[in-house]
């Protein structure tokens, strides 16, 4: 840790300064090291970003740059090796286990790159699990679950188990699940990586609508230009560091430009 507690307190203001957009996620010198035997991998090397409430932000970066690691940190799913994460000005490290569970259950929706569906549960049950954890009565979870599956076009397949579904179908199950408890923040790690153009476009539309109509903050790791073009801002990560952060309007969204920067 590079920060002493005092300095953190100074640099973490309780309220947004006037004229600025309210920040929903703020990271301070966020670091993550993975220890594998004697080898230490520096996945994040000190990330400082502010993500505003209600914005749609895309995270770009080559493979292995630390996008998924970054998502795990800001989603409260893993403990940082250094630095801090504030969600709505609350230091995640200060939360106890039950509060973390509440946060993960109600406030943040995750779409994992590897889907992480529970293998022995049906499609519908996977979607309703977070509702059950939130204490929603069983009948209501069924209705809401079916509506969500309908939204991602899987209503007829509700009784299938993950192994009986294609990669795209599993991904759509994961998307439906992420929206189970109407979260305020959606963390999407390659949400449309496995989908065909048409289905992908439908998902993009859903994410866009959630963002615009319900004010959900959407954070997307993606390579998909159509999704990038929907976003308000773009964050480039390289080697565990913020390479650049810009408004989309300031970037020429052309296949060449962004693709080029990504593949460098």
């Amino acid at each position: 840790m590079t920060e002493t507690p005092q300095s953190v307190a100074e640099t973490a203001p309780d309220a947004p300064r006037p004229g600025e957009r309210p920040v929903i996620i703020r990271t301070l010198h966020l670091k993550k090291e993975y220890q594998m035997g004697t080898v230490t991998t520096q996945a994040l090397r000190g990330i400082d970003v502010e993500i505003y409430r209600g914005e749609f932000i895309s995270v770009l970066g080559p493979s292995g740059s630390g996008k998924s690691t970054f998502f795990n940190m800001i989603g409260g799913l893993d403990s940082p090796s250094g630095g801090r994460v504030f969600i709505d000005e609350v230091d995640v490290a200060q939360l106890n286990a039950v509060e973390l569970a509440f946060l993960r259950c109600r406030k943040i929706g995750y779409i994992f790159q590897t889907y992480n569906l529970v293998q022995y549960m049906t499609c519908l049950e996977n979607v309703t699990v977070p509702m059950a954890f939130a204490g929603v009565p069983a009948e209501e979870t069924q209705d809401r679950g079916m509506k969500l599956l309908d939204l991602v076009g899987l209503a007829e397949r509700w009784f299938h188990k993950p192994i009986e579904m294609s990669g795209g179908q599993q991904q759509r199950t994961a998307i439906a699940r992420s929206m189970a408890n109407n979260p305020s923040i959606l963390l999407c790690d390659e949400p449309t990586g496995n989908l065909d153009l048409k289905t992908g476009a439908e998902i993009h539309a859903i994410l866009h609508r959630l963002n615009k109509e319900r004010g959900v903050t959407v954070i997307c790791a993606t390579h998909d230009h159509r999704l990038i073009s929907l976003s308000d801002r773009i964050l480039w990560i390289r080697d565990g560091q913020v390479e650049r952060i810009a408004n989309r309007s300031d970037v020429t969204v052309e296949t060449g430009t962004i693709g080029g920067e990504e593949n460098e």
Binding site: D88, E99, A101, V118, G135, I185
Partner: protein, 513 residues
């Protein structure tokens, strides 16, 4: 105004947890069934050992009851047919307690006071200890210490002061040592001092026997008695006497110091008669050139030389067989008639058959509890206790292994559940409920299976006796205990890894594997 206002996650009611566990179990039915089967096998193993030990214990007790008349007869035949040997006297002295019949007999024969008998008993116990020591050391050492003396001869041999000094000199070189040579010296002199007391008992007994001679000798039928050695003949005489014992005979025994209760008298008469009649049947085999033997060999399709007395007894258990033998003995000239009714023949045959099958069982019971009747817990021999402990360990290892595997392979699921908002408490309850359910299922199946196996195995070992002497109530207690052990072990073995995984951050738990 905050969008993300952090509160505490709701606690799911137990019913909700149960619901989730049940749906989980339904979907992982196959895997759960395997875990249950392993638990069941482990519990069954434990239960089999426990129930078999219980049955063995009961059977041993039952055999003692059933063979009591036989042992009683054996005892009395030897008491009435031969003098008390030194070894026998020492053994009896070590065992008797004040006021028991044997105690009274010894007091009467030796004209001894209770204090003298007390001393004799104490010395007999010590003697047992010392002789056990000499029996334990190896042949070479023993020769070095006491020369050629063996067993009871050692004590008189060491009375010679020169011999004892030699013993005491060489003793420090022996690998195993007597606790204290001085103590041993004290014991030897005390032993020597009480020799006259022991001899008084022996000679008292002998004169009692002499007084009873007119009653005892010549009672046996000359036909059967003549062909036998003297000791056997004396035993046959005594059996004949006991079989026909009148009240006057009983009184005569009592007058000579023998202690025989009225119940013992009745039992002895019955048992002696059974023995005599069985002998009479068996002896008919070889009368007059073995007519019966040859005919029976033909009936059984065996060689005449292979036919045994037990075969004849088995053969006459049926009414046809008994009639066959009666016809044969009555209608063949020169064979002594049996003078037994058909029903009596069958009764005698049945009794000796039962005793013969008991002998096999006695052997396997003795095998199961090979060590002395000493140092037992709950009536189990040390060997059996060891087996129980080992089977408990095997059971523990089996269950713990099964549970550890089934939980560790679900770390990823635990992590996913935590990502979706499961509390640590929920995960623990989930796994405790699940493992308890598996433990109960496996425990019930295993206890039932073990019960059955235990009964079958002991049935195979002890036959009908095992079924007759099933300690049903105890076996249910033991089944309950095995079940509880199964459930507790399963729950503990599941709780530990679940607790490890539940405490970690979700992505850390995901990385284990």
């Amino acid at each position: 105004m905050k969008v993300v206002e952090v509160k505490e996650q709701v606690r799911l009611p137990l019913s909700k947890c149960m619901e989730l566990v049940l749906s989980g179990l339904r979907f992982r039915l196959f895997r759960a069934a395997i875990t249950v089967i392993i638990i069941a096998l482990a519990v069954a193993f434990l239960m089999t050992m426990l129930s078999e030990s219980l049955v063995t214990r009961n059977v041993a007790a039952a055999i003692e009851v059933q063979t009591y008349p036989r042992e009683l007869l054996r005892e009395w035949v030897s008491r009435l047919s031969m003098p008390i040997t030194d070894a026998r006297l020492s053994r009896d002295l070590a065992r008797i307690a004040a006021g028991t019949p044997r105690w009274k007999e010894f007091a009467a024969w030796g004209s001894l006071t209770d204090a003298q008998l007390d001393e004799l008993q104490r010395i007999a116990a010590e003697q047992r200890k010392y002789l056990a020591y000499f029996a334990r050391i190896d042949e070479g050492t023993r020769s070095m210490l006491v020369g050629r003396a063996r067993g009871l001869e050692i004590l008189p041999a060491l009375q010679d002061p020169a011999k004892f000094r030699e013993f005491a000199d060489k003793h420090p070189h022996a690998a195993q040592k007597i606790e204290s040579v001085d103590e041993f010296r004290r014991f030897l002199s005390e032993w020597q001092r009480t020799v006259p007391l022991r001899q008084a008992i022996q000679s008292g007994h002998e004169s009692a026997l002499k007084a009873l001679r007119p009653l005892l000798v010549g009672a046996a039928e000359p036909a059967t008695a003549a062909s036998r050695p003297v000791a056997d003949r004396a035993a046959a005489d005594v059996r004949e006497f006991l079989a026909a014992m009148s009240d006057a005979d009983h009184q005569a025994l009592l007058r000579q110091g023998f202690q025989m209760s009225a119940e013992e008298k009745t039992l002895l008469r019955e048992q002696a008669l059974l023995n005599l009649h069985a002998d009479r049947i068996v002896n008919s085999l070889d009368e007059k050139k073995g007519v019966v033997r040859n005919r029976l060999a033909k009936e059984l399709d065996e060689k005449p030389s292979d036919v045994t007395g037990q075969m004849l007894l088995d053969f006459v258990r049926s009414s046809d067989g008994a009639r066959w033998l009666l016809n044969l003995t009555e209608n063949t000239e020169e064979i002594t008639p049996l003078r037994l009714s058909e029903d009596r023949i069958r009764e005698v045959a049945r009794h000796s058959g039962e005793m013969a099958s008991l002998r096999d069982v006695e052997a396997s019971v003795a095998e199961g509890s090979s060590d002395d009747d000493a140092d037992n817990l709950l009536g189990f021999s040390t060997r059996t206790l060891w087996l129980i402990v080992v089977s408990f360990l095997v059971c523990t290892v089996g269950i713990v292994n099964a549970m550890l595997m089934s939980v560790t392979e679900r770390f990823r699921e635990i992590a996913t559940m935590k990502c979706l908002g499961a509390t640590d408490r929920f995960i623990m309850i989930n796994f405790i409920l699940e493992s308890c359910m598996q433990g109960v299922a496996g425990g019930v199946i295993g206890a039932a299976l073990g019960f059955l196996l235990g009964v079958l195995r002991s049935g195979a070992k002890y036959g009908f006796l095992a079924i007759q002497n099933l300690p049903v109530a105890q076996m249910f207690t033991v089944a309950g205990a095995s079940l509880v052990a199964g459930v507790i072990l399963s729950a503990l073995a599941a709780m530990y890894p679940a607790w490890v995984a539940a405490r970690l951050a979700p992505m850390e738990a995901m990385r284990i594997e």
